[in-house]
């Protein structure tokens, strides 16, 4: 395997894993639910996205032919993350209001 490609793949994996960890640190550390929502929706999505990209690059250079199907996971993650964050935020707001009413 080409050493330059190997360096890029390794870097993408390391940076991606670091961002994923960062998202979880945010999830564990931040004080209230709406703040906690920030970590996983962005840092984790970006981190895992970088790792998926690394996998695509790795298999495109080691196996014959391009390996594009990882891109499908990437696209799906980036479409689904804001939607689940939005739905969760709505649910949290709903529960908070109901608690305040009681």
């Amino acid at each position: 395997m080409n050493p330059a490609v190997e360096t890029i793949v390794s870097l993408l994996i390391l940076v991606g894993a670091a961002f994923a960890l960062l998202g979880s640190i945010g999830l564990a550390r931040l004080p209230d639910f709406f703040a906690r929502l920030h970590g996983p929706t962005k840092a984790t999505t970006l981190g895992v996205g970088a790792m998926v990209l690394a996998s695509s690059l790795h298999f495109s250079t080691t196996a014959p032919g391009l390996s594009l199907h990882e891109i499908a996971v990437l696209v799906f993650l980036f479409i689904s993350a804001p939607v689940s964050a939005h739905v969760l935020a709505k649910a949290a707001l709903h529960r908070q209001r109901r608690k305040d009413d009681r």
């Binding site: 209230d32 929502l37 920030h38 962005k42 840092a43 594009l68 696209v75 993350a81 804001p82 935020a89």
Partner: protein, 162 residues
């Protein structure tokens, strides 16, 4: 043509997705993709709301590039805030009055806001046309709202001409 492909953009997306999933390995796989690209929009036609036409593909591409760059660059800023002292954070709920009047464009704007770090969209009020969002650290909510309007809403408005 219009009856065969009611949503050309959707058909193109399905075809590209299928090509990616099957690694574009063979002519057969591409043929199946083309078949799905014609069949799926036709079958699910009734579920799709009237989506506005893409008026300016060039602006759309530039917006996509800008959003991708923002996601990467601004994630570093959020990283600093998550790891730094929490007492200095100023979380805030911000309401952004929208100029858009289209549910589809508003949904895209909400998704962009959620993906760019520091903000998560919470609700799109389609009677008052207000986007409410939560910002992790917003010392100046008014400036944030203005920045979102200028940076993302104005190009979107141009793209869909609504």
């Amino acid at each position: 043509m219009k009856r065969l492909l009611p949503h050309p953009a959707l058909s193109a997306a399905i075809f590209l997705l299928w090509a990616a999933l099957s690694n574009a390995a063979s002519v057969g796989a591409l043929a199946v993709g083309a078949l799905l690209a014609v069949l799926l929009p036709a079958v699910t036609r009734r579920f799709w709301p009237d989506t506005p036409r893409l008026q300016r593909p060039g602006v759309a591409l530039r917006l996509a590039a800008r959003v991708a760059l923002d996601i990467v660059v601004a994630n570093a800023a959020v990283a600093r805030r998550v790891l730094g002292p929490l007492s200095r954070l100023q979380p805030a709920f911000v309401e952004v009055p929208l100029d858009l009047r289209d549910p589809f464009a508003a949904t895209i704007l909400a998704s962009i806001v959620s993906l760019t770090p520091g903000t998560v969209s919470i609700d799109v009020d389609q009677t008052r046309w207000v986007l409410s969002l939560h910002a992790l650290d917003a010392p100046d909510p008014q400036a944030l709202a203005a920045a979102i309007k200028a940076r993302y809403e104005a190009p979107l408005k141009e793209v869909f001409a609504c």
